[in-house]
Amino acid sequence: MFFPEAMTEVELIVPSKDLLAVTKVLGNQGVFHQIDSTYLGLENLGPNTWQEKAASYSTLERRIQVIMQTLNLKEEYSGVSDFDSIADLDPIQSAVDRIEAEVKKTSDQLAGEKKKLEQLESQLHQLEPIADTNVDVGALRKSNYLYSVLGIIPAANISRLETSLSRVPHAFFTLREDPQKPVVWLLGPRSNSDIIERAVKSAYLNPLTLPEEFDGTPAEITKSIRKAIERSKQKISDLDRTLAGLAETHGKELHKLLWDVHVSRLIADAIARFGQLRHTYVGVGWVPSADLELLTQRLKQASKEILIEAIPIERSGNHPNVPVALRNPGFLAPFELLVNTYARPRYNELDPTIMIAVTFPLLYGAMFGDVGHGLVLAAFGWLLSRRTSLGGLLIACGLSGTIFGFLFGSIFGFEEILPHHPFFGQFVLIQPMHSIIQILAIAIGAGIVLLNAGILLNMYTALRSRNWGRFLFDSNGIFGWLLYLAFLILIGQIFGNLLAGISIFPRFVLVIAGIVFVIGILVAVVFSHPLQHWMEEGHFVVEGGWGIFAVQSLAEILEKVISMFSNTMSYVRVGAFAIVHAGFTGAVFVIARLLSGGEDAGFAYWTTVVLGNLFVIGLESFIVAIQTMRLHYYEFFSKFFQGGGSPYEPLALATAKEK
């Protein structure tokens, strides 16, 4: 749970006769992440026929999908998962040919008619700006001295077209303004028609093409086009009915064909990625180590002569090719989603899902602390949880808000009920609006704990993967951590002096912190990269020469100090939002009192209180989510989590529902 699932590299040597049965087991078990191992095969065995088969099934599957889309049928894979063998191509091919021919005839007619309708509507639309012009369009077409182009142009090209014609006398009108496709009219002397034509073409001006049969003024042409549109719509409706009939007739058969072809394609695809030897096939892939035993058992049942070689992969070192399977309990799914949105962990890296499952609701709840609001959010999450895993996240955040609501003594913004209650009053620890400095200080304190945890996790990951350079000299390695601790002592002393005029730490602690700070800056910032390079490569390299190195180092020192300060202070927002949350609901009560004439009762008062609370829940739940995410992604994760792992995608033949 704390690390991606341990993986084992598996190599299978399968006798040709058992190939199908073995692939079927691999597909049904759904744990084998296959990698292309055709390179292991013999090249002189001729072309891989399975690749051809897979391509044929793939083409058939696409054709069936196209037919189903044409007939408005849902593309569901609804077959039985236990099949005997892959489907024969010929009967499926002829069934698809038969149905496709029947459907294509109608759908081609429909597409043609729709295109015609679209053209007519486009012509009608283009004529609108010149509808009132009493000009014979046909005559303009036949003019001897004037060359004119009426058409549509990408809006971005208009000024360039005008620039390109600056040496040629011309008139340019925008007949219809449109942010994407304005209608324009360009006129010039016929003697310059070649230049105008080239300019028009290169500016992507598409001339409006009115069919020859439409002649006369724009008003007359519009009337004729409208009649043609009516006829076209009637024809489309008839063709739609015909297609609906075909869907009724062929629906069941198409669903069965789709399933057969889909499964056959998956199997053929998988087999095509096996390396082919003279009498055997070689398959290579990854399997979660926990699933290996069961898979081995099933494979041996399917083929007595199969050879299975398993190589467990250790987490130390760099394994960019090992797929990363995160197998957290179901209730952590929303938190896993949060982690994957940032990046998928690498194989040798900590999976922060479990940590974020604790810290995310904790920080969220602290910023959204209200018993009533938390319960409403949790209830909303519960309603959502049937549709999306994010519902679970809302439930956790809502319940955390509820707990903090008890600690803050707030229920639907009422700050006086819980503190004075004989039972619940004993749980109230602090009221944000009454203890502003304390709540901000607690927030920063919590931030410091989290940042230290982040740095320690980075060191732990580096240690586990035996990356000594990162462990020692990374800015979040051991020297980086000491630097941060020294920084906290020094900054604490400075603030103590400035704000309260007190010295927090004894002199010798400050001297030690000062020395550690300087060493930390040198080791974890200035010479961090050269030292890491030295650990990994055995030699000390200063990139770009000492001059550039010195300038860069200065910038990096500044950046490091600022980032340590800003990262720490960033957590002040947790306290600030707790105060804002209380302040916001306080404002709701002030408005409610104003609207009810100073009374804490009445319809106007309670309506405002209810609507105000809903507003606060809606607005703050969103803002607080963003802030919590920010604190995790920018402040916490950046300390120890790099990500960049490749996803684990096992071969699986199960239907979508079974998955």
């Binding site: 390179y39 083409t59 800015s475 950046e559 800003s566 960033s570």
Partner: protein, 361 residues
């Protein structure tokens, strides 16, 4: 201060860490001394590209696969910078990254054009995939479906709902008439750079100043090379050159592009804009070999502009942008090296095209 210290604290540290991993001119000189492709490959394994190359099996050690793996590092750098850049600058970085998607889109369309008729050839997609930039799940292109569609028109239909739908709706009319990808590629380029420039201009303060400088310099190089190529290679008319170029940039202004389009002396325009580049006339005497060399000179100017971004205040988007541009130029250098070594070109044929090694001179 645009963005501010807190916005840039994390990204600045990350970019500096990644910047330190870029190859130095000395590294590049060492790599170019490799005797053959395999030696180069082994030398590359000891650089920051190592983790990307380690996983390659012996059978996969060929120039195409190695180049793809090298590009993966660039993709990861973009991903990191996009993730960490402040919200207000993220659209600019994302748009900059879209450059590779445009490249993939062009490659997909070209691949369709090279297959005369649609057939179920199984290896076609695999071959195309090898040359695409590894954008992973960040791309909106249904590349495989496009390649397998077998026709440019059907492939473009698959782009419905993507940012390319609108741009291509105009260009496709010309494609249908001319059966040539040129209008599509030009439309994609123009739209890309317009959006990128607009995103840079949306920024404020130091972000805007540095963003416009880096993006503008990149744009200058492309815009100028387009204008010169359209005139010298394609022999396009003045009005066509104007329509196929852009009226803005950092150093190159509309008047410069219009001068090139109108037939002005290209060498004097370039020398005026880039006083450091001399002897352009000699390069233009033989455009076939001279224009690629001119492009290299412009790229070196760009690289110097990027290096300059690292001097001064570190809290702006200029540094991440400069780092990404430099990473891209580094990948271009490595591609030159890999292709040269795998084809056994003599050093004097490829060294003039290396950007970094020549910074030593």
């Amino acid at each position: 201060m645009g963005g501010g210290v807190t916005d840039y604290a994390a990204i600045s540290a990350r970019v500096r860490a990644m910047y330190a991993e870029l190859l130095t001119p000395q590294d590049m000189a060492r790599l170019s001394e490799a005797s053959d492709f395999l030696t180069l490959f082994n030398s590359l394994k000891s650089t920051a590209y190592g983790p990307y190359l380690e996983g390659l099996k012996d059978k996969d050690i060929n120039p195409r696969r190695v180049i793809t793996q090298i590009k993966r590092k660039l993709a990861d750098s973009f991903y990191s910078v996009i993730q960490m850049s402040p919200v207000q600058t993220r659209p600019l970085v994302k748009q900059l990254y879209r450059y590779y998607e445009i490249g993939n889109l062009k490659a997909v369309l070209r691949s369709i054009m090279t297959v005369s008729a649609w057939n179920a050839e199984t290896g076609h997609w695999d071959r195309v995939r090898e040359v695409l930039f590894p954008l992973g799940s960040t791309t909106v292109l249904p590349a495989q479906a496009m390649v397998e569609s077998g026709s440019v028109a059907t492939a473009v239909d698959l782009l419905q709902g993507t940012p390319y739908e609108e741009i291509l709706s105009f260009a496709m009319k010309r494609y249908s008439a001319e059966q040539n990808l040129f209008p599509i590629e030009v439309a994609l380029d123009l739209s890309y750079w317009r959006r990128l420039w607009a995103e840079a201009k949306k920024l404020t303060g130091q972000d805007r100043e540095h963003g416009v400088r880096i993006i503008g310099s990149l744009l200058d190089m492309n815009n100028l090379m387009w204008a010169i190529r359209y005139r010298v290679y394609h022999k396009l008319s003045e009005e066509e050159i104007i329509n196929y170029t852009l009226p803005f940039g950092y150093r190159v202004q509309d008047s410069d592009i219009r001068a090139v389009a109108a037939g002005a002396d290209i060498a004097s325009v370039i020398t005026r804009l880039y006083p450091g580049i001399t002897d352009v006339s000699a390069l233009l005497e033989n455009p076939q070999t001279g224009l690629p060399k001119l492009e290299v000179l412009l790229k070196r100017q760009l690289m110097k502009q990027c290096l300059a971004a690292f001097v001064g205040s570190p809290f702006h988007i200029g540094i991440p942008l400069a780092f990404l541009v430099m990473s891209d130029l580094e990948v271009q250098d490595l591609i030159v090296l890999i292709e040269a070594k795998s084809s056994n070109f003599p050093a004097d044929e490829y060294r003039p095209f290396l950007l970094k090694e020549n910074l030593l001179n």
